[in-house]
């Protein structure tokens, strides 16, 4: 089974967010980047587990400039067989997905796996776009995935509960917590990653239909008002008269 895992790069979860160039660009100065957690912990690791039991290959794909190569090498160190970088600084999820779909077309992938969302753009949409472009079925927010022969069984979150689906490959799946446990790359993996193939592919030329024109940092809260723990009636009064939430 051949699996393509879409990985994106994101600022570490504790990053203080700032913008530059008149608030039109994210300020990357002194920011530590990571592989988007859902892509690494859930999509990539589950893909590797499936490969270990069923055979086949795991390819990681990133759409972005060369500055993401450390994160791509990390995915190889965790265990992916090879990597592809589509050389485009994409403007939105639709454009990323159009490039992913153009790459998948005509190749023999059985499964495309993405994370449930990126922690920087929070679009939760690349996976669905890829499925739409390819005309493959899409299962979003998967928390469990098993494959036997040509059939995948997937548990995923839906409105008001969870649903178990079964379906023939190929499929596109977005992955959430529950799929797998994070893996830390070992020394052998890190060494091997240096020589694993990383192919750079020119973009297909798909256009973006949306783009960011301005960012703003969310306003902070004013200083906390401390309430005497003996006087919870005061808290209720403030919630009613001041905050007006009850």
């Amino acid at each position: 089974m051949n699996i393509l895992v879409c990985i994106s790069k994101a600022p570490d979860t504790t990053t203080k967010i700032a913008f530059k160039d008149g608030d039109t660009r994210f300020n990357e100065d002194n920011v530590t980047f990571i592989i988007n957690p859902y892509d690494e912990w859930y999509a990539l690791v589950r893909a590797l587990e499936l490969k270990e039991t069923l055979g086949g290959t795991v390819t990681v794909l990133h759409v972005g400039p060369a500055s993401a190569e450390p994160e791509i090498r990390k995915a190889l160190a965790i265990g992916a067989d090879d990597a592809v970088r589509i050389d485009l600084d994409a403007q939105d999820a639709g454009q990323v997905a159009a490039e992913v779909a153009a790459f998948v077309q005509g190749k023999s992938f059985d499964l495309v796996m993405a994370g449930k969302e990126t922690i920087n753009y929070n679009g939760a949409s690349v996976g669905g776009f890829v499925a739409g472009y390819l005309g493959w079925p899409y299962v979003s927010m998967a928390t469990k995935l098993d494959v036997a022969g040509n059939v995948a069984t997937i548990e995923h979150d839906v409105e008001g509960g969870t649903e178990v689906l079964e379906g023939e490959l190929p499929l596109v799946i977005s992955c959430a917590k529950g799929m797998a446990e994070a893996r830390i790359p070992n020394m052998r993996g890190i060494m091997a990653a240096r020589t694993k193939p990383l192919q750079v592919v020119p973009p297909s030329g798909a256009e973006a239909l949306t783009s960011v024109v301005k960012y703003a940092v969310a306003p902070g809260r004013t200083a906390v008002k401390l309430i005497d723990p003996e006087h919870m009636d005061q808290l209720v009064e403030l919630l009613h008269n001041e905050a007006k939430v009850i």
């Binding site: 299962v139 409105e159 178990v164 689906l165 024109v213 301005k214 919630l239």
Partner: protein, 324 residues
């Protein structure tokens, strides 16, 4: 130019987040100079008339089994047909599990622009649409320009209050052609949550963390939630150890919520937890450690032991409710 809005039901009622989406679509349609068509595929509901009252000028209902079941590929086909029949130039969804599955597929198929998790109204200037969405897990917002011939927007729940001031409209059956659609996915099981209140939609949320020491102590949290009419949530370690169901887990790796009131009991306020809740309008933190980082992100704080403070708060809420 008309706007299509997807509306969904939950437990026999139109979801509140869907009514927020109808209101939103109506404001957008008034900018664009057109009406709002709502598409409903959720079977029976006791308050279908609210869809018209929220601003829809037309209500289309489709009852084919795959649609009622929520099959994403079938819903996508139905929406594609509804876009064509209503000649919509924009589609609005609530940002929820269904739209996460359907909206991007629809955008790909119709070559539409998509902005998900919008938190403000669409601005229209000189024919260009722009909208503000939440990014960096709530730490920032980004204004997006939409340039599609068709544009799709999903709205973060609880970003706007619902107003029901319009007239109700009669439901009209909308015929969906699913013949080209043979689902390759079969539903093997469906587990519904027992929670009465859906957490992403709740206006009031009571949440607790590891400070509560064990699942046997959640009685006070449930009682506080009940006294307020709030939903319950928890921090990640609490759902990881299995003290609480995983759908209650809020934060970076769980769900993001933005209720009017978020009460955090025995939660330290780690940045990954805040990522899921800092969009809340008012935050109350109850923690016995005055140094707990959560106090820096709170509007009201109570430094004290949860096992003393929460029962007192329940009494105070009950007294307040009895008087109001």
């Amino acid at each position: 130019m008309s706007v299509l809005v997807f509306v969904e039901g939950s437990k026999g009622k139109v979801k509140k987040a869907s009514l927020e989406a109808v209101n939103y679509a109506a404001r957008l349609a008034s900018h664009l100079g057109g009406g709002v068509t709502a598409l409903w595929c959720s079977g029976e509901a006791s308050n279908l008339e609210d869809i018209g009252k929220a601003g829809a000028s037309r209500l289309w209902t489709a009852g084919d089994a795959p649609l009622v079941q929520g099959d994403a590929q079938a819903l996508c086909a139905a929406l594609e047909q509804a876009v064509a029949s209503s000649q919509a130039k924009a589609v609005v969804f609530s940002h929820d599990f269904t739209s996460k599955a359907v909206a991007p597929m629809l955008a790909a198929r119709l070559k539409a622009g998509l902005v998900s998790a919008a938190v403000a109204d669409v601005q229209v200037s000189g024919g260009t649409l722009s909208v503000v969405k939440s990014v960096f897990s709530g730490k920032a917002t980004a204004e997006y320009q939409l340039r599609g011939a068709l544009n799709i927007i999903t709205l973060l729940p609880n970003s706007f209050a619902v107003t029901l001031t319009g007239n109700s409209v009669a439901a009209e059956p909308f015929g969906v052609n699913l013949s080209g659609h043979t689902s390759r996915l079969r539903v093997k099981a469906l587990k519904k949550e027992s929670a009465e209140l859906s957490l992403p939609e709740a206006e009031l949320v009571v949440s607790a963390g590891r400070g509560l020491k064990g699942p046997e102590h959640w009685g006070i949290i449930e009682d506080l939630a009940k006294s307020l009419g709030a939903a319950t949530a928890c921090s990640r370690p609490v759902s990881d150890i299995g003290w609480r169901p995983h759908h209650e887990h809020v934060g970076q790796t769980g769900i993001a919520i933005r209720p009017n009131l978020y009460i955090a009991v025995g939660i330290s306020g780690a940045i990954q937890h805040l990522a899921g809740v800092n969009g809340s309008k008012t935050i109350v933190v109850i923690n016995k450690d005055p140094e707990a980082p959560f106090f820096k992100s709170a509007d009201y704080g109570v430094v004290g032991d949860a096992f003393d403070v929460v029962p007192r708060l329940i009494e105070a809420v009950k007294k307040f409710k009895a008087a109001h």
